[in-house]
Symmetry: C2
Subunit: 148 residues, 2 copies
């Protein structure tokens, strides 16, 4: 029974990680809201659906890309469809499934969100780190998500 306590550096990494990512996410959400735009989570969804083009994408594929549970996708698509940002159509070769496609309004919304989103990233990250520092930071963060 080894009661392990992280060393101070580990703790510092953790607290910085949480506070930085929370602060950034909040800033993005606030800016989006101030512009009358949808929440950040929608951006990723709209982007993935947009990338799928006119062939569309199946909800279960979206689930894998966005790392959300299936019911999460289901409810998210409900809201996107409600606002007219996506369409959901049955697919012929598999009666269980659907195909999701972005509408014109969906494309416009995604596009309108981007400058706001990008603006925060540039001012909060790009403007604060040199290219080499950013590369080093990305590398170190990558170390934390390696498989074991």
């Amino acid at each position: 029974m080894c009661m392990q306590t992280p060393d101070p550096q580990t703790t510092k990494v953790w607290t910085s990680l949480v506070s930085v990512s929370r602060a950034l996410q909040e800033r993005i959400e606030d800016d989006l809201k101030a512009h009358g735009l949808p929440p950040l989570a929608w951006y990723d969804a709209l982007f993935e659906i947009e990338k799928a083009g006119k062939h569309g994408i199946r909800p279960f594929e979206l689930k894998e890309r966005l790392l959300l549970p299936q019911y999460g996708i289901s409810r998210l698509l409900d809201r996107l469809a409600e606002r007219g940002l996506v369409t959901r159509d049955g697919v012929q070769d598999d009666g269980r499934g659907q195909v999701v496609r972005l509408t014109q309004k969906g494309r416009e919304t995604r596009l309108a969100m981007w400058p706001v989103y990008a603006g925060v990233l540039v001012s909060a990250i790009g403007d604060r780190l040199s290219a080499s520092e950013a590369a080093e930071l990305a590398r170190l963060l990558g170390r934390l998500s390696e498989d074991r």
Copy 2:
């Protein structure tokens, strides 16, 4: 009208930041749940209240420390009190306010959460980075939360 797009390094930092902090938080939540323990957010609250000792702490102070809105504190304290982890008493010199104190059960719960919480931090951070890498990572993250 400058349509700014973050450079690839900035984007990589952002995506790594989000995925690492999300994955870690999920691992901690899952482990806590597997041990029949409360969610991570409670840990910080219990810890802050515990630090206040027998003098207790006022909800508005807790709000500042935990960076939650006042109604968030109100509801969180409802749940903590419901489970017998904290007490809420009126305070004489300010009729509006309350004082929150940790119960014995609250102390035990906080203590039981710690090894689970710490275990994830050690295996996900401490074991993966050298001391100098951890220091460098903490330094770079710190750069991102400097005031401007």
